[in-house]
Symmetry: C2
DNA sequence: TTTATTTTTGACCAATTGGTTAAACCAAAT
DNA sequence: ATTTGGTTTAACCAATTGGTCAAAAATAAA
């Protein structure tokens, strides 16, 4: 019964990957312990090495998975030829923040590991289908057509990403700042941002 | 010779702190090794424990120092009653980016550690003189006076910080994105941002 | 110089780490 | 029932870790 065997195999493998994912994201590569991953998966530590040969290999496995699902889901929309730049801004901000809200510690994890071992990990990032050429040329086109003010496409994109992602990375800091001004909690603040960020961007680049 | 003693003492202490600073920022708390700090300082490892009792205490010492110098230098300007909101945006972006350029890995370090051990570190952040009330009320005042469009002060501030800081935290990602569009290098890109960010923000909130 | 104090060191320790191994387990095939 | 194959485990290992300590070195006081 190859099928049954494969299912069992994939079963434990998935359980390990899920456990590793949680622990790595929570503690980072250096902070994560193989024993803790084994505990989280309710299996013996040696089994980790049976499926994935080393901590590094296990980490790579989850990192690739995490990057790809994260990149793909957000790039698709932005490269879609079926929306105007304004619509893309609105849709991207809403969708991107919602995506991160489901996994709030993912950006911090990715960015930190990427910085800590760039030579090891940047390759994964580059080869994960990160294509932005259509979006960039679409912006240039709408500028030529006089639909939006002249802006540098790269800066616009980085601004969008920055305003969406940074609050999650800087949550402890943001909470301190916001709570010193109002009683708003972080989740409410991010819900507001789904509205204020597109408004802020579009106000900046729309022609009057 | 109390003076001489104190100088020597402060001398080694400062050498240790400087070494610890470099290693902790480069490797993070979990990744840093006491031996590596000792090597960096060219002293015996036991001497680290002689001056600072534990790795944690040593880390706290440098974290407090780092936070305070970082916060203070940036908050001063923003609370200064002598500038308009527009001027503050221009000055802040220029000064904040320049500050980080001198220490590009500081934001990533601070944000990551803050997320990793919030209960331990957020207190330091809170008690480091982070006051923003004047800036917030100044924005509200200029809105009432019709000088700028209605905006939520907290969102505006977070937007400013996000667009300045995030690129440094996401440098490996940013480089991939930018280089896929132009041949610009990161430093040039950040120099451009000193101009494009204030323009972007002011375009968004100015009245026409 | 001699004594007292402080600073620096090398050697050491217990605990933890990622990783290994040989044996046990367990379902399926003979 | 026995064998066969992959799966899971407990026990173990070498290396590394933060941390200690007693003695040496350097400095100041007498």
């Amino acid at each position: 019964m190859v099928e049954k065997l494969d299912k069992r195999h994939t079963g434990t493998e998935k359980i390990i990957l899920e456990a590793a994912r949680q622990v790595f994201i929570r503690k980072g590569f250096d902070g994560a312990r193989m024993q803790e991953i084994a505990d989280e998966a309710n299996i013996n530590k040696a089994l980790l090495h049976y499926y994935f040969r080393s901590k590094d290999k296990l980490f790579m496995a989850i990192f690739v998975e995490v990057i790809q699902s994260f990149i793909l889901s957000s790039v698709k929309l932005i490269q879609d030829p079926g929306h105007s730049v304004f619509d893309k801004i609105r849709l991207f901000v809403e969708k991107y923040i919602s995506l991160i809200q489901e996994n709030p510690y993912l950006p911090g994890f990715i960015l930190n590991e990427l910085n800590r071992r760039p030579d090891r990990l940047v390759g994964i990032f580059k080869s994960s289908g990160l294509e932005l050429d259509y979006f960039f040329s679409q912006i240039e086109k709408e500028i030529r057509e006089g639909k939006i003010k002249p802006v540098e496409p790269e800066h616009l994109l980085i601004n969008m990403i920055s305003m969406c992602v940074f609050p999650f990375v800087g949550k402890p800091m943001i909470n301190t700042i916001i709570l010193s001004y109002s009683e708003k909690d972080f989740n409410l603040f991010m819900e507001e941002r789904k509205r204020t960020i597109p408004e802020f961007i579009i106000n900046s680049i729309k022609k009057q």
